[in-house]
């Protein structure tokens, strides 16, 4: 059901909705039938967070990140993570310039608006942590000099949960830095047929044109920051986080950082709906993608094959809302 929120129309949010629709349409032209995943990716972008896409090979993880990157007219860099990748391959390196007789900083691929990290779990922990430091602090320090990253900045990392041989799974502390984790999943039969028809002869990415600029995105991020989060909603976020910490099925609950991510993401989610205020429905919709990848189930829950996603969904369905 769509309720008319009766919002007084403001330019920033109107633009945001229009732009989001444009970006969504553009990305959907590449990946059919995955509107939810696309919307979630947009939400993370507007919430100034980072996105982890985890799924089996070949469902379009890289395609989604590339399509999102290409639909926005901004700098995009792709890093293919391999076990021999070094931190300097990401952050950049200081090289000696013979002409100038001085060391010169050669920026790495992380200096871009959108960084696509493919198969992030194939890199060594040392390299992973170098990227994650950039994600958190939005800056790079090389040889004692700090270089700020571009704005907006989003890392879209993918990882493959099936091929675990020769991989370095992300530790919990590093997974916590990703605002949301999504799974794309297999397309429906119709969507798959359409994909075969449309993309059989040429790559759809070639036809994708940017529909927004980095500057637009930056303005919209500022607009999202103005979305109201009322005290009852904040209370609800806290109650949800505490519920995960007290759940007997989880041995690691949601961190305070995750509550912050949930709040930011809910603002973006509400803004994509055209609302200038957050409602508990936004939190409920985002709880699983934002919280589940940070939680660790207990041994009993693992034996019972209870995934953190199911635990979070159950908590959401049971946690009472603040009564009007």
């Amino acid at each position: 059901m769509v309720l008319d929120t009766g919002r007084e129309r403001g330019r920033a949010l109107d633009d945001l909705v229009a732009m989001a629709q444009n970006v969504g349409t553009a990305v959907e032209s590449v990946i059919d039938g995955k509107a939810d995943a696309i919307r979630l990716a947009l939400t993370v972008l507007l919430a100034e967070g980072h996105l982890l896409i985890e799924d089996v090979p070949g469902v379009g993880k890289t395609m989604l990140s590339k399509a999102l990157a290409r639909s926005i007219d901004c700098s995009v860099r792709r890093i293919q993570f391999t076990p021999d990748l070094l931190p300097s391959d990401i952050t950049g390196v200081s090289a000696y310039n013979q002409e100038r007789g001085d060391f010169e900083f050669k920026p790495g691929p992380v200096f871009a608006n959108i960084v696509v990290g493919d198969e992030i779990n194939r890199a060594s922990p040392k390299t992973q942590s170098a990227l994650l430091e950039c994600m958190e602090e939005r800056q790079v320090t090389v040889d004692g000099t700090t270089y700020p990253l571009e704005q907006p900045f989003i890392v879209i990392a993918t990882q493959n949960p099936v091929e675990m041989e020769g991989t370095y799974p992300l530790p919990e502390a590093q997974r916590d830095r990703f605002t949301a984790r999504i799974s794309i999943g297999y397309p429906t039969a119709i969507a798959e047929r359409e994909m075969l028809d449309t993309h059989g002869s040429s790559s759809p990415l070639d036809q994708l044109k940017p529909v927004a600029t980095a500057s637009d995105v930056h303005d919209l991020v500022l607009a999202v920051r103005g979305v109201l989060v009322s005290p009852p909603v904040k209370e609800y976020i806290i109650a949800l986080a505490r519920a995960t910490r007290n759940s007997p099925e989880l041995r690691l609950g949601a961190s305070p950082r995750s509550a912050l991510h949930l709040l930011r993401a809910s603002r973006a989610w509400a803004a994509l709906d055209g609302r200038d205020y957050v409602i508990p429905d936004d939190i409920q919709a985002l709880a699983v993608p934002v919280l589940a990848h940070r939680l660790l189930p207990t041994a009993e829950a693992m034996v019972e094959r209870r995934l953190p996603e199911q635990v979070v969904a159950k908590l959401v369905s049971e946690l009472p809302l603040p009564r009007p």
């Binding site: 059901m1 309720l3 200038d276 205020y277 409602i279 429905d281 409920q284 009007p324």
Partner: protein, 821 residues
């Protein structure tokens, strides 16, 4: 020693202390209670010590008794003890002596007795022994249910000494005692589950027994409520009847062997007079326009502990067609034959007597000459009591021919001295009453003849000059000291005290006397029919005058401030030669004074007629109905009224809540909501919240329901789909949901103008969408009103869990969490 035993020990001690409250009518003041509570605590402490090791139960019992002895020694004989604590032979002797004193004092005082030391010792010792047994059964032998037996001993104690108990006091004390016992059972139940454990114990090793315990507490509460309420609605089932050991006028004589037990007439008298709602006992049709009293029992033997039956009789004789002549009634020229047809109510029955059957006694006018009655009956020739060991009175009909005795005053004045056969027995007075002889002579000093003395005694007692007063809340006299206390100190009582006093005083001045117990003539209903109720139960003295035989006197105050239907006999009221019939005036020497209500006399005699109901003079129309139907009709009305209340109150409450909710929302418009100056937005917020609560309540009422985790938007979406709302209704639903959402989460609430109308539209739409049964249930029993009531009651019942230390322990972190959160 585990926490288990501590908890059960504490519960047993609390239950004993609460049960000891039932002794309150026996004592004055509260010292006895604290003495008893101290004994209970001492016994609990001793019991706890004995359970530190696994000792045989006998040793535990001995330990409890030893603890009690130590306590009594410290409390009552510290001066003779070693270091004020350890008993010595001297202190033990002192205790025994004190206990002997207590026993002596208990026979001197009528309850309530003052807190003298001997009595306090007995009270503390008795309560302590009960506590010892309770503690042993509950904590050592783990049989908490059986521990109720010693507690029951405490409850039955007041019933054995004929004390006066107030209805409210009895109820409260019963409830407290029951609560203590239930708490003991609850504590024991928890411990059993704890001992056996659960498959997944909680980290604090306290299995969650709350659901089971709550169920037990609810069952217990329901039992107590039913036990208290059922007697209110079931006629014939009254505590006084059950405990009195038979109504006296009734009996269950069919079948069974064993000895025939005699009832206690005085206890039955008291029980019937104290019926909260007088009930019909019998009806009779008589040829006499001014019938006399109906005699049931005659107490002819005066002992130091009261009046008793069958002292003068030799052997009962089978009831023949004609009865022996009444003793002493030799001149029959001023007697008139009467015929009385009596029908006893079907609700008259007696409780079964353990070990035998209750003798039943027939109410008859005195003196009867001929009785036609079915069944096996005997006559006591001395006192003309008609009794049976095998015939039930319930529904019995019989016909009695009797004499109406109205001797002229002159005959009584000139009556010769009683014969030796009468004087030899009916003038016996135990020495305990000698102290009252001076009083008796002082009252009758100016009277010249025995009859005048009798009239003087009647007039001295009957309350005309406010010397004595009538009250049902007076202790029954069971000794000479009790009589002296009544005559000299309390001076208030009912017919038991007055008849007892006059009969004793009459013997002291040389007039043979007995105490008769039965009924007054009752209430005249129509034609020649009279109805006798339990409130007409009465005791009166009968004095012997040679020639007239046994004639009755009426010392009990009569009228609305006394025994309602009692009337003094005409021969004690000399008629005025010039006054109208029934009026009286002072006669010989001014010793006879008119009764207070003589103006209400019946035609044909000077006797008083005051119906027991306050509607003076006019008998209630309902009395013409069959006797046993009356309580059922009252109960039916009460049930109908309860039903009407049950049907109307919840619905009315729901309407009131709705109205109040919208009124508050409107009030916010005029005053601004709390802490916020008036703006149109504050009004919108209040109205939106009212609308949302109203919608949620409607969903609860119609059993559509909502989840606590459902947002307004999600709820609206769900019910619109489930109930297949029309477009207009969906619009109203969306408006209400959006208003609630924005009032709660947005800075700019929606306009509220249409919300009330939207709520009404929604209510009707929901009602139309649900099945008819749910619709009516929502209208009559709205769940939004009833559920909080049930939850509240459940929480009140769960107050028992407070006695459980584990419950308190678990509750603490919750409170702390709440405080932090």
């Amino acid at each position: 020693m585990t926490m288990t035993n501590h908890r059960v020990t504490a519960a047993a001690a609390i239950a004993t202390i609460l049960a000891s409250l039932s002794l309150y009518p026996i004592f004055t003041g509260s010292v006895w209670f604290w003495a008893g509570a101290g004994a209970v605590i001492a016994v609990a402490g001793a019991g706890t010590l004995t359970r530190l090791r696994q000792l045989p139960p006998v040793v535990c019992l001995a330990g409890g008794v030893l603890g009690l002895l130590l306590y009594l020694n410290v409390a009552f004989e510290p001066s003779r003890s070693l270091l004020g604590i350890i008993p010595t032979p001297e202190s033990i002797r002192g205790l025994l002596h004190l206990a002997g004193d207590g026993l002596t004092e208990s026979s001197r005082y009528a309850p309530p007795v003052p807190g003298v030391r001997g009595m306090l010792l007995l009270a503390a010792g008795g309560i302590g022994l009960t506590a010892t047994l309770t503690d042993l059964l509950a904590a050592r032998l783990r049989s908490s249910a059986l521990a109720g037996l010693p507690l029951l001993m405490l409850f039955t104690e007041p019933f054995t000494v004929s004390v006066t108990r107030g209805a409210y006091g009895t109820t409260v004390v019963f409830c407290l005692g029951a609560a203590g016992y239930l708490a003991l059972l609850s504590a024991d139940g928890r411990e059993r589950i704890r001992a056996w454990g659960r498959s997944r114990p909680k980290p604090d090793d306290a299995p969650d027994t709350s659901a089971l315990a709550a169920a037990g507490r609810r069952v217990g509460l329901a039992s107590v409520v039913v036990a208290l309420c059922v007697p209110l609605f079931v006629p014939g089932l009254h505590a006084t009847r059950l405990f009195s050991g038979g109504l006296g006028i009734g009996g269950s004589g069919e079948g069974g062997g064993g000895s025939v037990q005699l009832p206690d007439p005085e206890a039955q008298l008291q029980a019937q007079l104290k019926e909260s709602q007088p009930q019909p006992v019998l009806r009779y049709v008589t040829s006499n326009v001014d019938p006399g009293y109906l005699q049931v029992y005659v107490l002819d033997t005066l002992t130091s502990s009261g009046w008793q039956m069958f002292g003068a009789s030799t052997a009962n004789v089978p009831l023949g067609t004609k009865l022996p002549m009444a003793r002493g009634l030799t001149d029959t020229q001023w007697t008139a034959p009467d015929t009385t047809a009596v029908t006893i109510g079907r609700n008259v029955s007696s409780a079964a007597q353990p070990g035998g059957k209750a003798a039943t006694f027939l109410p008859v006018p005195y003196p009867p000459t001929k009785i036609s009655v079915g069944g096996s009956w005997q006559v006591d020739p001395a006192d003309m009591m008609i009794l049976s060991g095998s015939t039930s009175l319930a529904g019995l009909s019989y016909r009695v021919n009797s004499l109406s005795v109205d001797p002229p005053t002159q005959i009584l004045d000139d009556a010769p001295a009683p014969p030796a056969s009468i004087a030899g027995y009916y003038l016996k007075v135990p020495p305990a009453y000698d102290s009252l002889r001076a009083l008796a002579q002082q009252i009758t000093g100016s009277a010249k003849t025995p009859f005048r003395k009798a009239v003087a005694l009647q007039n001295w007692l009957d309350g005309t000059d406010s010397r004595f007063g009538y009250t049902l809340n007076a202790p029954e006299i069971t000794s000479a000291s009790g009589l002296a206390q009544f005559l000299e100190v309390t001076k208030h009582g009912y017919c038991q005290q007055f008849s007892y006093a006059m009969a004793v005083l009459a013997r002291l001045v040389g007039i043979p006397s007995t105490v008769a117990i039965g009924y007054t003539q009752g209430t005249h209903t129509s034609g020649s029919t009279w109805v006798v109720k339990t409130s007409d139960a009465h005791a009166w003295p009968e004095l012997y005058f040679q020639g007239a035989g046994w004639i009755r006197f009426e010392p009990t105050p009569a009228g609305v401030d006394g025994q309602g239907t009692a009337t003094p006999p005409t021969y004690t009221i000399p008629a005025s030669p010039s006054g109208p019939p029934g009026s009286t005036q002072a006669g010989n020497g001014g010793t006879v004074s008119p009764p207070v209500n003589s103006a209400h006399g019946l035609p044909g005699g000077g006797r008083l007629y005051v119906p027991p109901d306050s509607s003076a003079g006019k008998p209630p129309a309902s009395l013409a109905r069959p006797d046993q139907a009356l309580p059922w009709i009252d109960a039916s009305f009460a049930l109908l009224a309860l039903l009407a209340l049950a049907v109307t109150v919840p619905a009315a409450a729901r309407r009131l809540i709705r109205r109040h909710r919208w009124r508050l929302a409107t009030a916010a418009h005029s005053a601004g909501i709390v802490g916020v100056a008036y703006t149109s937005e504050s009004t919108d917020v209040a109205a939106a919240r009212a609308a949302w609560r109203e919608l949620c309540d409607d969903l609860t009422d119609f059993r559509v329901g909502y989840l606590p985790s459902e947002s307004p938007r999600a709820l609206a979406s769900r019910i619109a789909a489930d109930l297949h709302f029309a477009l207009e209704v969906s619009g109203a639903l969306n408006r209400v949901a959006l208003a609630a959402e924005r009032a709660q989460y947005s800075a700019r609430p929606c306009p509220s103008a249409a919300l009330r109308r939207d709520c009404a539209v929604l209510r009707h739409a929901i009602a139309a969408a649900v099945p008819r049964r749910a619709r009516w249930r929502a209208r009559i029993f709205p769940a939004s009103v009833l559920t909080p009531v049930f939850v509240g009651v459940s929480q009140v019942v769960d107050v028992f869990s407070r006695v459980n230390p584990a419950g308190i322990r678990r509750a603490l972190p919750r409170r702390q969490r709440a405080a932090i959160g």
